[in-house]
């Protein structure tokens, strides 16, 4: 049996590139492989940078959608490499 995957939610609305990516990279320290990290960001550069960072790190954006709390920004669900 593997331990349950960790799950982290980051709200990076209002922070500009490269801060959302830095937050993402810090969050994964100590997480189990294949953990899920969710991040909400509203910097237009994040739209390109989050998938690009995932590609470079072997992670993937499982899905992305407009943040559901109505406060703006895009919600990304990122899965770390297994």
């Amino acid at each position: 049996m593997t331990t349950p995957e960790s799950h982290v939610l980051l709200d990076e609305r209002g922070s500009r590139c490269p801060l959302p990516i830095i937050a993402l990279s810090k969050a994964l320290v100590g997480l189990a492989p294949a953990s899920i990290v969710e991040i909400i960001a509203d910097d237009p550069a994040a739209e390109a940078d989050i998938p690009a960072w995932c590609r470079l790190k072997g992670a993937q954006v499982v899905e992305s959608f407009a943040a559901i709390d109505g406060q703006g920004g895009v919600h990304y669900v990122v899965q770390l490499p297994g």
């Binding site: 500009r16 490269p18 990516i21 830095i22 237009p44 550069a45 739209e47 390109a48 590609r55 470079l56």
Partner: protein
């Protein structure tokens, strides 16, 4: 925005001489005007020779931005029907903006992570009613060469004119004469700013509209021609050596700096351009700190751009849009320059990260 190189010595001398001898309006008939016309003709002949085409296929515009707009407008205005405009996703933003301004549907063909379009995808995006296709010779931000020869062959049978923006490539590599219409930027190969080059091949249906030599600055045209000759000559002499230094930088940044990598095509690229991504820093900090120790580089990062929009080129490549450095090596760069750069960069990146992390 075009990456500029300093005015070359020969171009500077030519400009100063031509300011005295080529001041007149070349379209007039008095003696000084005829002298100006001769200088202008010589500039066209020289540029045509550098590009491997005919002198009457070369025109000048008051800027490269205007050359790009006129390149497209002249083709669109004679298009038989309002068919699509096909471009690569990594064309200069002025080309994409100009394409969108006509109201024709614009089809953008994506690129791989190396910044290159797949020629089959590009040709497949062209339809019999496509008004024109735009594919750059090389990319301005990452130096990747585009497969213009294969694309040109592929769309020729459809009769679609091919616009090649050579603003990053002219003066640095041989430009294959496969284009219908070409734009080039003297300011990027050691010529003066304030002038653009527009090439239109004989037989291409292109509307010159009110084009006249009257609006051309003869001294700037003369200096542009000398600069292109000079840079092409230096390319023949130095490109192999400079390209090896680019390889060295690409290898060393990846090996020696954590979370740094070179972007763009490793082999099919301009000989003098290297673009590197340093994760977790903003490019502007790196540019400022490198400038402080004597290196002038550009950032592809958008963090301080007015509109906060990330570089469309890097986004199309799936590359990070922050922490990028675009380095254009001059022909006289030495291994010592590269060694010194590689000594400074790891420290600068580490310090910039220390401030953010």
């Amino acid at each position: 925005m075009t990456s500029r190189a300093p005015l070359g010595t020969a171009a500077r001398e030519a400009l100063l001489t031509a300011l005295d001898t080529g001041w007149a309006d070349p379209t007039r008939l008095y003696g000084e005007a005829r002298k100006a016309q001769l200088l202008l003709d010589a500039a066209k002949e020289s540029i045509a020779a550098s590009l491997g085409v005919r002198a009457d296929e070369i025109r000048f515009t008051p800027s490269v931005a205007l050359a790009r707009r006129r390149a497209l407008a002249g083709l669109v205005s004679v298009a038989r029907q309002p068919g699509s405009v096909v471009t690569s996703a990594v064309e200069h933003s002025a080309i994409i903006d100009a394409a969108q301004a006509f109201g024709h549907p614009v089809v953008e063909v994506g690129v791989g992570t190396d910044g290159q379009v797949n020629p089959n995808d590009f040709v497949a995006a062209c339809r019999p009613d496509t008004a024109l296709a735009c594919l750059q010779i090389a990319n301005q931000e990452v130096g990747t060469l585009q497969p213009v020869e294969v694309v040109s062959e592929g769309i020729a049978e459809l009769g679609i004119p091919l616009v090649c923006d050579a603003s990053a490539a002219a003066g640095y590599i041989n430009i294959p004469p496969v284009w219908s219409v070409l734009t080039a930027a003297p300011e990027s190969f050691g010529g003066p700013s304030g002038i653009g080059i527009l090439g239109v091949r004989t037989g291409v249906r292109w509307n010159p509209s009110d084009f006249a030599d009257e609006s051309t600055s003869v001294p700037l045209a003369t200096a542009a021609a000398i600069a292109l000759e000079d840079s092409s000559r230096q390319a023949a002499q130095h490109a192999t050596r400079v390209s090896a230094l680019v390889d060295l930088i690409r290898t060393r940044v990846t090996a020696e700096i954590p979370d740094c990598l070179a972007v763009g095509h490793p082999i099919q690229r301009l000989p003098h351009v290297v673009t590197i991504t340093c994760m977790y820093v903003d490019g502007e900090t790196l540019v400022r700190e490198l400038d402080r120790v004597g290196f002038s580089v550009a950032s592809g990062s958008a963090c301080v751009a007015d509109d906060l929009l990330p570089s469309h080129v890097l986004a199309a490549m799936g590359a990070l849009t922050h922490g990028n450095l675009r380095i254009g090596l001059p022909w006289n760069v030495t291994i010592q320059d590269v060694e010194r750069f590689m000594l400074e960069l790891p420290r600068i990146v580490a310090e910039a990260r220390g401030k953010l992390l």
